[in-house]
């Protein structure tokens, strides 16, 4: 347990829609996140990948305690996060920080850069003004910003620089875990690499653990040691990034990675074309969530939720095809 900084067990978020008394409608339940498990080793990067509405952002919100889970547990250093209040909560807050996608909405336009960066520090620790100033200058240097810019406002910076400010703010408390929610999706191609490099350097320098959330498979493949693939609120496949990128086992992961754009005109691979649309999380399919679009769908898929099958390399996928194979081989 100790080598995992964060682990999540059966984490669930259901949004219950109000029912109407007069119309006698049944209350709808949006199953945004539906029982996911994963663990993040200390100092590693876990990528949470999936498409819009798969529940990856809701997961991030629960980890950051911006939303309360409907069920399940979040363990940080083996201690349950959900129950934390007072100094325990402060402890968690100082250890877990976040960087969001939009560098424009992440920074309060009415605050100066030094106040933005110092805010987590002031909110959590008793520190003298001088120390705050030093800490801000130091962390600005670390992320590659000129400390002389501390009194400027966010609008005086470009998108890439704003993202550096956001990272500096997240870093000022010296947290151990950072939740990176689409940290480079809003940036231009030429700036993207700068920020990814910065994040990798910071990880080496401070021993940070990252939970990286992205729909961008290239970014995920670049950054992550482990990948968890989500579809309709569930993790369908999880394991070492190297293996999942090279040899995805779940039909959805296969389709997803086959949709990745080629790096070369010759690289246009055989794409797996998915039929239909992502079903509504209000009324997800029975059995396997992916069965309505799966090219290998079988009768059992509609009836039984596929169990997780583990391969020797640690790759795990929830698909009846795999459980059949493992049943055959054993």
């Amino acid at each position: 347990m100790s080598q995992h900084i964060l682990s999540v067990e059966n984490l669930t978020k259901h949004y219950v829609q109000k029912r109407s008394f007069v119309l006698r409608t049944q209350p709808g339940v949006v199953k945004a996140v539906d029982g996911i498990d994963f663990a993040l080793p200390v100092g590693a990067t876990l990528g949470l990948v999936g498409e819009s509405g798969c529940g990856k952002s809701t997961t991030a919100k629960m980890l950051l305690r911006l939303e309360d889970p409907s069920a399940g547990k979040i363990l940080f250093d083996g201690r349950e996060v959900q129950a934390a209040t007072g100094s325990d909560l402060r402890d968690y807050r100082t250890n877990v920080q976040a960087v969001f996608q939009d560098p424009y909405s992440s920074l309060n336009p009415r605050m100066r850069v030094d106040s933005i960066i110092a805010e987590p520090l002031i909110a959590n620790r008793q520190v003298a003004a001088v120390e705050v100033r030093d800490a801000v200058a130091q962390v600005m240097g670390v992320v590659g910003l000129n400390p002389d810019w501390a009194r400027r406002f966010p609008h005086e910076f470009s998108g890439g620089q704003r993202q550096r400010i956001a990272i500096a703010r997240a870093l000022v408390l010296r947290p151990r875990l950072m939740v990176l929610d689409e940290p480079v999706s809003a940036l231009d191609v030429s700036i993207r690499a700068q920020i990814l490099n910065l994040l990798m350097d910071l990880q080496d320098q401070f021993g940070l653990s990252y939970l990286l959330i992205s729909h961008d498979l290239d970014v995920i493949a670049e950054m992550c040691a482990e990948i968890a693939v989500m579809y309709l609120g569930q993790i369908v496949e999880i394991g070492p990034a190297r293996d999942i990128v090279a040899n995805p086992r779940h039909p959805y992961t296969q389709a997803l990675f086959s949709a990745r754009l080629p790096a070369h005109p010759d690289g246009a691979a055989n794409r797996i074309r998915l039929s239909g649309e992502i079903p509504s999380p209000l009324d997800p399919p029975s059995g396997c969530r992916f069965r309505t679009r799966c090219p290998h769908v079988m009768p059992i898929c509609a009836e039984v939720l596929p169990p997780e099958s583990e391969l020797p390399n640690g790759q795990r996928a929830s698909c009846h095809l795999l459980s059949e194979q493992s049943a055959l081989s054993s």
Binding site: S105, P109, A123
Partner: protein, 279 residues
């Protein structure tokens, strides 16, 4: 000042409002005559440039022979004081209620919005008549009415604005940084409402002036012998055929001031946040 910023300066609203504000703050310095001195020998003297006019009474006199210009200058103070006081209190109540409703949602939001609905369903003047019937007329009625009428507009607009600000990344990050709700409202929501508040304040001030004059006009507001612009118009109504200048100049004073605040509001909206078109 560069030519660009010179051109962008809101000259028209400032020129319209400056004399009013100066009269409101330092009116007594400019009285050509004492506005309260009755001169029964010179009632309803026309403005100076008309036949029968007296050059020392530039805009003429009222039915008691009081100098109209002096009464207008004195009226500026009362009129402005009431409107500004009412709108400021309304703004404080409305902004707080709107922020709390928008940020916390739930039953607080429901309660505030239902009260706003109720207010919106009673036309302004009728609401003031109702308040007048409860409190009797006078200054209290006017100020209570202005607060009652205008807080709800603030609450409605600020709530909507807060609902969208609440979803900004920096608010979520402030929570992640362990800031309290109070800190978030004060440091992250309120400063970003500044543009909206300024625009609304400017527009409301003009509307409050009109409401104030209307209440006074129907006899529930400021009572004689005070000087207020609405009162001058109400008094002048009886002399429309014989002393048209009394209501005309008082009405012009109101129109000029309201036009000034409206134009200033428009200018602020364009300058601070062009997206606020719907206000």
């Amino acid at each position: 000042m560069t030519w660009q910023s010179f051109r962008r300066f809101p000259w028209i609203p400032v020129l319209l409002l400056a004399p009013v504000v100066i009269c409101g703050l330092a009116g007594p310095l400019f009285y050509p005559h004492d506005p309260t001195v009755v001169n029964l020998l010179a009632p309803r003297k026309p403005p100076a440039w008309l036949p029968g006019g007296d050059p020392s009474f530039l805009l003429g006199t009222d039915h008691f022979g009081r100098d109209l210009l002096s009464r207008l200058i004195e009226g500026a103070r009362v009129t402005l004081m009431v409107a500004v006081l009412g709108v400021v209190v309304a703004a404080v109540i409305g902004i707080s209620a709107g922020m709390v409703a928008g940020y916390f949602g739930g039953w607080i939001d429901n309660l505030v919005m239902r009260i706003v609905d109720v207010k919106m369903s009673i036309p302004t003047i009728l609401l003031t008549i109702l308040i007048g019937s409860a409190f009797g007329g006078g200054l209290v009625t006017i100020i209570a009415s202005i607060i009652f009428v205008f807080w709800a507009d603030y609450a409605r607009v600020i709530r909507g604005e807060t609902l969208s600000l609440r979803e900004r990344g920096y608010v979520a990050l402030a929570k992640v940084a362990n800031c309290s709700s109070f800190t978030i409202l004060l440091r992250h929501i309120l400063p970003n409402l500044f543009a909206t508040c300024m625009v609304l304040f400017s527009l409301q001030l003009g509307r409050a002036l009109i409401v104030e004059a209307a209440i006074t006009f129907i006899g529930l507001g400021i009572q004689p012998p005070a000087s207020a612009w609405g009162l001058l118009i109400a008094e002048g109504r009886n002399y429309l055929a014989t002393a048209w200048w009394i209501p005309t100049f008082a009405g012009l004073a109101i129109t000029m001031t309201v036009l000034g605040t409206n134009l200033l509001g428009d200018w602020l909206r364009d300058a601070l946040d062009p997206k606020l078109r719907q206000l």
